[in-house]
Subunit: 221 residues, 2 copies
DNA sequence: GATGCCACTTTGGTATCCCAAAACGGTATC
DNA sequence: GATACCGTTTTGGGATACCAAAGTGGCATC
C-alpha cells in the first residue's frame, strides 16, 4: 500500500475514533512525523479527508472538523432521501435474498459484542442496504453520510436502550424489504432515520458541556 | 488565487469543455508544462478532480473519465432522489420568492444566446433550485451530479427541440413550486429528469460512433 | 516477417529544499 | 499590568531532486 493510502487510512481512523478531537488543529509536520511519511503523501491524504468533510481549513492551516449539530440535522434529511430511494430499488429486485446477509450482520451482535462492533455494524447496516440497490451513487452517498455521522454516533452507542431500539427498527425494515413491500419498508426507514437524528441531536445537545470538557469543539444547531 | 486552485479550475474547464477528450491519458508532466505550475499543485488538482469523477486512475497513470452511459443512468436516479427531496423542502418554505430569480435565469436565454449559456443555465437551474432548499448536502449532491453530467449534456444542447422542451418543463416546475404544490412540482421534476435521461442516453448511444471518431471514449450502458 | 529480449526513457511516488506569510514570544513603553 | 511593536520561529504552498517501476523502441534471433 502506498504511503498516501496508509497515511489517509490511519489519520481517518484516528479522527473517527476521536483519538484526535473535533476542532483540534493539525499541522502537516506533525502528521509527517507521527506516521513517518514525508509531506507529499501527507498533503494528499489531507486533501482527500477534506473532501470527506473530516478535516477542514482554518485560515491557512488544517483543523479536524468540529461536531456540528446543524450539519447532523441536514445529513439526516439527505440520508432519508438517498436511503429511501435505494431501498425502493432494492425492493423492486426479483432476488432480494441478499437481505439475509445483512440480517446475519445484525444477528452477530450480542451482549458480549464490544461497543466498537455495534458502532460499526450499525453503520454498515445502512451502507450495505444501500449497496444492494446496485446504484453506485446512492451507495456512495450513504457511505459518505455515515462516515460524517460516525463520530457523533459514538454517543448513541453508549445507550443500551437506543441500541436495542435501533436494532429492532433495522430488523423491521429488513422484514418489509424481504416481502418486497417498498412503501412500508421506506416508511419504517424514514421513521428510523428521523428518530435516530432526534435522539442523537438531543443527547449531543445535553452532553455538549461534557464534550467541550474533553476538548471537543461542538457547534450548536 | 493559489496555483493549485488555478490549475484545478483550468483543467476542469478543459475537461468539461471537451478540450481534453473523455478517455484521454494525462501525465502530471504535461499538465505541469501546460499550465506553468510545478507538480505539487498539479498533483493536488488531480486529487480533487478525481473525487469529482472527472479524472480517474488508469493503472499507475491518470485518465480523463470516459463518458459512461451506465453511469449516466445511475446519476439520473440519484438526481431524482436528491432533487425531489430538495424541492419538497423548498415548497415548504413560507418565502418562495427566490424562485423568481431562477425564472429570470431561464428568461435570459433567447435565440441570440450562445450554446454555452444555454448549457450552463440548464445546469444552474437545477443547482440553484437545490440551493433554495437550504440543505447544504442536497445542494452539493445536485451540483456534483450536474458536473458529472455536464460533458454528456453538450449533445442535448445541440437539439433545439429538446432545449425548448426542457425550458418548458423547467417553467412548469417553477410554477408549481411557486404555488407551494410540492407533490405536483416533484412529479414534474421526476418526469423531467427521467425524460432528459432517456433522450440523453438515446442520442449518445446513436452518436456513439461519431464520438468515438472524435477520439472520445464512450462506455456502453 | 514475427517474436523475444534488453537498454533506455518516461512516469508517478516520495523526500527534501526554499520561500513568503502568519503565528508566536519577548521586550520596551505607557 | 496591559499593550504595542519587532525579531524569531513555524507553517503551508511551491519547486525540485531522486527512485523504482512501467512503458517504449530497436535490435538480434528464429
Amino acid at each position: 500500500m502506498s504511503q498516501m493510502q496508509s497515511v489517509e487510512k490511519q489519520l481517518r481512523q484516528m479522527i473517527l475514533g476521536l483519538e484526535i478531537g473535533p476542532g483540534e488543529k493539525l499541522t502537516e509536520r506533525w502528521i509527517e512525523s507521527r506516521f513517518g511519511a514525508s509531506r507529499t503523501p501527507v498533503r494528499a491524504a489531507l486533501l482527500r479527508l477534506e473532501t470527506e468533510g473530516l478535516v477542514g481549513r482554518d485560515g491557512r492551516g488544517w483543523t479536524v472538523s468540529p461536531i456540528n449539530l446543524a450539519e447532523l440535522e441536514q445529513i439526516a434529511v439527505y440520508r432519508e432521501a438517498v436511503e429511501v430511494a435505494a431501498l425502493h430499488l432494492t425492493c423492486a429486485l426479483t432476488d432480494r435474498s441478499a437481505v439475509d446477509v445483512i440480517e446475519a450482520m445484525l444477528d452477530s451482535c450480542d451482549t458480549d459484542t464490544p461497543r466498537e462492533e455495534w458502532h460499526r455494524i450499525g453503520m454498515d447496516f445502512h451502507i450495505e442496504l444501500a449497496r444492494l440497490s446496485g446504484n453506485e451513487f446512492l451507495f456512495r452517498a450513504v457511505r459518505d453520510a455515515m462516515t460524517r455521522l460516525s463520530r457523533a454516533r459514538w454517543l448513541e452507542v453508549r445507550d443500551e436502550a437506543a441500541l436495542a431500539r435501533a436494532w429492532a427498527e433495522h430488523r423491521a425494515i429488513l422484514a418489509a424489504a424481504r416481502l418486497g413491500d417498498a412503501d412500508e419498508a421506506a416508511r419504517l426507514l424514514s421513521v428510523h432515520i428521523v428518530g435516530s437524528r432526534d435522539r442523537l441531536v438531543t443527547s449531543l445537545a445535553n452532553d455538549r458541556r461534557g464534550l467541550r470538557a474533553r476538548g471537543f469543539a461542538v457547534i450548536a444547531a
